[in-house]
Structure formats: structure tokens, C-alpha cells
């Protein structure tokens, strides 16, 4: 067993990433000090700077992990061979459920992205765009097939839906009346109903 793990066996970089994610979500990026992160992870500052070049690098890693996960799930749904309306409904509902299950990640996304330096911001945005375009392609496919109304530009439809997804971290409470799946079904339903020809 290498030195990079501690009592609990989790490697140091992952412990740092987990601690940072939780703290960034709870307090915001600027209000979380490097000292707090290393204390929560049970290591020292030197260790953090051994694995990450800066506090900002840590934030970017949090983003990278989330983006990778979301893109994988979207690709899976979009690549299935179900009818396009079912594929869109599944993907639209899934992003709601996984966002609720990782509300910390979502909070960080919509509140801390502007804390990245221009270059890193650009990189994250381009990965976001890839995600957005995959989703938009589904909408356009349905519009071309006449399954969805073409009254609204597909881009706007996607932003309409993702607006509500981002908004989840503002109002969703685990102890509220609806389960994540129920919320997801309702929101996907609203999207599909809005797209009825």
C-alpha cells in the first residue's frame, strides 16, 4: 500500500477533491480557504500543492469530473435505438435525477464558474457546449421528423430545459413532497408537452 492513502484507504488527491467539492458547494469558492480544504481532507497544505498547482486547479478538476460523468450518461441515452421522443424524454429526465443526486456539483457549477481564469473558463465552456449540442441534436432530429414542433429554435428549447435544471439547486429540498424521479418526470413531461406539434 502506497503512502498516498491514509487510514480510510482513499488516495489523497481524491480525498482533497471530495473535501473541496463539499466545501465549495456549502460556502462558495472564494469563501473556502485552502486551509479548510486540507483540514477536511486530513492532509497539509504542502500535500495539496504537490498534487494540484493551485486552488483554481482544484476547482477545474471538480468541473472536469462532473462534465465527464454527465456526457457519458447523455451519450448512452442518445445512442439508444428508441424513438426520438422517448430518447429525449429519458435524457431530459435523467439529467434532472443525476443533478438532484449531486446537488453539490450543480451548485458549484452555477455559482463558481466565473471564478476560473479566462483560459480555464473557455475550456470548461467548450466541454459544456459539446454537451449542449448533443442534446440539441436530439431536439432537431425530432423536429425534422415532425415529431416535435418547430415553432421554437432548438437552441432555445435546450436552454429552456437546462435553465430549469440549473434552478434545481435553488429550490429542490430532499425533504420536499416530490422524489427526484417524480420531479424529473414532471420536468421532462413539460418539455415534451411544449414540443407537441
Amino acid at each position: 500500500m502506497a503512502r498516498t492513502t491514509d487510514g480510510d484507504g482513499t488516495p489523497v488527491p481524491q480525498r482533497l477533491l471530495a473535501a473541496a467539492t463539499r466545501l465549495f458547494a456549502e460556502q462558495g469558492y472564494d469563501r473556502t480557504s485552502v486551509q479548510e480544504i486540507v483540514e477536511a481532507a486530513g492532509v497539509t497544505k504542502g500535500a495539496l500543492y504537490h498534487y494540484f498547482g493551485s486552488k483554481e486547479d482544484l476547482l477545474q478538476e471538480v468541473y472536469a469530473r462532473v462534465l465527464r460523468l454527465q456526457q457519458e450518461r447523455l451519450d448512452d441515452f442518445a445512442d439508444s435505438d428508441a424513438p426520438v421522443d422517448e430518447r429525449l424524454r429519458s435524457a431530459a429526465a435523467d439529467v434532472v435525477v443525476t443533478t438532484i443526486e449531486n446537488l453539490d456539483d450543480a451548485s458549484i457549477f452555477f455559482r463558481s464558474m466565473h471564478h476560473l481564469s479566462p483560459e480555464k473558463n473557455k475550456q470548461v465552456r467548450s466541454e459544456r457546449r459539446r454537451y449542449h449540442e448533443r442534446f440539441r441534436a436530439l431536439v432537431e432530429e425530432g423536429q425534422r421528423a415532425g415529431v416535435f414542433s418547430s415553432a421554437t429554435p432548438a437552441d432555445l428549447v435546450v436552454d429552456y430545459h437546462f435553465g430549469s435544471v440549473h434552478h434545481l439547486s435553488t429550490w429542490y429540498r430532499p425533504d420536499g413532497p416530490l422524489t427526484p424521479q417524480q420531479v424529473a418526470d414532471h420536468l421532462a413531461d413539460l418539455l415534451l408537452r411544449a414540443l407537441r406539434p
Copy 2:
């Protein structure tokens, strides 16, 4: 009168509020220093603290002004005697247009609200709720009248729409292909289409 205004004739508190609004939107609350604000407003720190108790008070004032304006507009639309679907469509489109026209305020709202202390946060949230409830009442009125589908709880419908409004500050660019009014019409249309029985 001479003392409370400067070269441009605008009272000092309003100059400070305007400068703070712009800077909070551009850089975020934590990244904007009091020094930057007073320099942008052309006054000294002492003057700022003469009118505002703290940097946080300044942020709260920004919120208070926006909330007041939005509530007034919503009340006007909701109180008209047009049919309920027209009233909802007008209100839904209007909030989009005014949000786009004041994107700075919107950015601050969705990125900096968590920087308020618990008490102030509570106060702002309760005013937000009042706004939300007025909007929800419109949806419920239409559902009771059978004009709108009751498939989705009215609360969720409202959050669906406001998610897309908040999201505007993330993607809307003045030099994009759509005018504010066009965006507003499309988004209001999506809402009304989703509510078709």
C-alpha cells in the same frame, strides 16, 4: 444640495448603488472590493460607510430595488382584466424582457444571494416567495378554469419557467440573433404550449 451630489448631479448613495451593481455583476460579490466600488463611484470609503452599514447592506439594497420593480410589473399584468392565458403570457414574456434589460441585476441575483447573512437572506427569500406565489396563482387560476392542463403542479410550472429566466444571464448575448422581445415571445410560448390541456 451641493454636498450630496457631485459633478454629474447624481446623489452619492445612488452613485454607489449603481457602481456596486455593475461591479458585483462583472466580478462577483466577493471579488469586488469596497475600494473598487468607491473609486468607481468617485467617493471615499468613509462616504460609503456613512450611507451603508456594510458591503453586505449594499448588496441587499441592490436586491431590494430589483425586487420592488419586478413585483410592481408582475402585479400590473396580473391585475389586468384580460383572459388568464393572456395575462400569464404577458407576465411571462415581460419578466424575460426586463431581465434581459437588467442582466446585471439578474447575474447578481443568481450568483450572489448566498453571500447574504442568514437573516438578510431570509428576508430576500420571503420577498421572492411573494413574487413566486403571485405568479403561481395565475397558473392555478388557469388550471381551475380548465384553460391549462393540471398534469403538473403549479409550483413546478413556475420553477420551470423561472429557471429559464435565471439562466438567461448565462447564455444571452445582446449581439446574438434574437432580440429580447423575440426571446421573450419564444419562452412565453413554450410555457403556454406546455400548459395546453
Copy 3:
């Protein structure tokens, strides 16, 4: 009735002096802001600076009033035609009683004197010295008459007694077991007993 009094009829300068005395004693000179003083006195800053040149002037006035009172009392006792031991005992006990009755003044004296500028400090010290010398003269008179032991220099005897007087503000509590008069009698007794030949 002039403008210098308010609802309660007390002239503004005296109200300021009383407020300052209380606040300086409670919080210390440096920790008391001019704003607090004027609020406690129910006037504005402009009024304070109309009557007093500076915050420091206010402190000096507090001193001046106390010194005047104490000197008057000491002179009365020292000038009586009782035997010297009785005169010393009376004066020694009286300064204890009046110090306890004005513990605020005493606290200020022993904690804030070093906040005066060199010139003002010098002036206060010279008035203190006059007081000290009058007291010392009583001791010396008794020593010359053989009523008091000459084993200790009179200066040191006076400092010994006044040390205990200054110390009162550290330990005396109105709700303690001894009345001011009892404390005074005990301390004067200790002084006289120490001076027995």
C-alpha cells in the same frame, strides 16, 4: 431658557461630560468613540466640537473636575485644628469613601491618564503632585512631632496609601461584605498602625 439645555434641563457640556465619564470608565478611552458619546448625550458631533476642542480635551475635563473635588476635600480635612493623627486618619478615610463613591472617575484615572498628550499629561500630573504633597505634609508633621514613626520616608508612606486607593477600582464591589465606610476605616487604620512609633 437658553438653547444649551434639552428636555432634562441639563446644559449640553455637562451632559457630554457625564456621558463621556461613564463610557470612558466602562469601555476605556480608546474604545469609546465620539459617536457613542454624542449619542449617549443626545446631541450631535457638531455640538461636541463646539464645546470641546477634541476628544482628548473631554478627557482632560473629566480629570480636572475630579482633581478639583478631591483637593477641596483634602484641604478641608488638613486645615482643621484636630490633632495631626486625627487629621491624617480623617483624610485617609475620606479619600477612600469618595473614591468608592466615584469609582468611574477612579477607573478612568488609573487606566486612561497615559492617553493624554505630553503637555496635558504634565499639567494633570502637576495637580496630582500638589495633592500628594499636601498629604505628605501631614505625614511629615506627625513625624516631626514624634506621633508617627520616621522609619519610612513620608513620600513612600503616601504612595503606599494611595496605591491601595487606586487599587480599589480593581477589587471593590458595591455588593461585597463591607460598606464604603468600613473599608475606609480599615484602610486608614492600617495606615495609622503602620505609622505607630
Copy 4:
């Protein structure tokens, strides 16, 4: 080891403590800025806050060191097997000598203690009380043995003496006519004479 010391080989925390002690005594706690302290110690602010949590912590450390030293000396004298009047005389004289030798510490004690937060103040006071009680026990022992008069409560006797000790920082000057030891002998003598039956 190289890092924790500088040119003169004294560890940084001790250098800071020494500089703070001198400056607090000369100018008072509130009038001494953290900047002055670190400049006097030849380090930066960051270094100070690496070792001490706050300016107040620094003050408390000054107290803690003095209290420890004084308690040790008192215990040594009180535990000897000389007659009780000799033990009291030695202890009473010793506290005078060591106070004069550390007049800075004494000044801080009697002028800055009220600058501590309530909790820290309480802690320091309780250690003071332990010291006071050890001294009082000596007086009571002599009173029970009939060596000292019981006319005055022992508590008051202790406060009488310590008043004069505190007062030293007000009037004692190294270039005065009396050596520290002479002052100590006189003050101890006054105490013992006052206690004669």
C-alpha cells in the same frame, strides 16, 4: 532550526512576545498596532498570525508568562520553614523587587487587563485569585498564631499591600533615590508594622 530564528538566534514567538511586552507597556494595548509589533520583532504579520491567533492572544501570553513566574516565586517563599512573619516579609519584599525589575509587565497588567475578552479575562482573574489566596493564607496563618493583629480582615490586608505594588509602575523611577531593594524593604516593613498586634 534555521527558519525559526533570525540573526540573533531567538525564536520568532519569543521575539514577538518581547516586542509586544515592551510596546504594550510603553503605549498601551490599543495604541500599539500589530504592524509596530512585527516591525519591532523583525518579522511579518503573517508570521505573527502563524503563532498567535490574534493580538489579544499575544496579550494573554504576556500575562500567562508573568503569572507563572510570580506564582513560582511566591510558592517558594511561602513553603520555606522560616517563622511566618519572616516568610510574609520575604514574600512581600520579593514581589516588590521583581515587579520593579519587570515594570513593563506590571504596567500592562494594571492598564490593559480590561482589554481582554470576557472569557480570557475570567481565566487571568482566576489565576490572579490563586496568587492572592496563597498570600492571604500567610496573613491568616500569622493572625491565628497571634503574631499578627486580627483587627483587619486578611483579604483587605492583601489588597492593601498589592495596591502599593501595582502603584509602583506609576511612580517608581530607576534613577530615583532608592534602590529596588530599599523600596522593597520599606514597603514590606510598612506591612509588617501595620500587622503588629
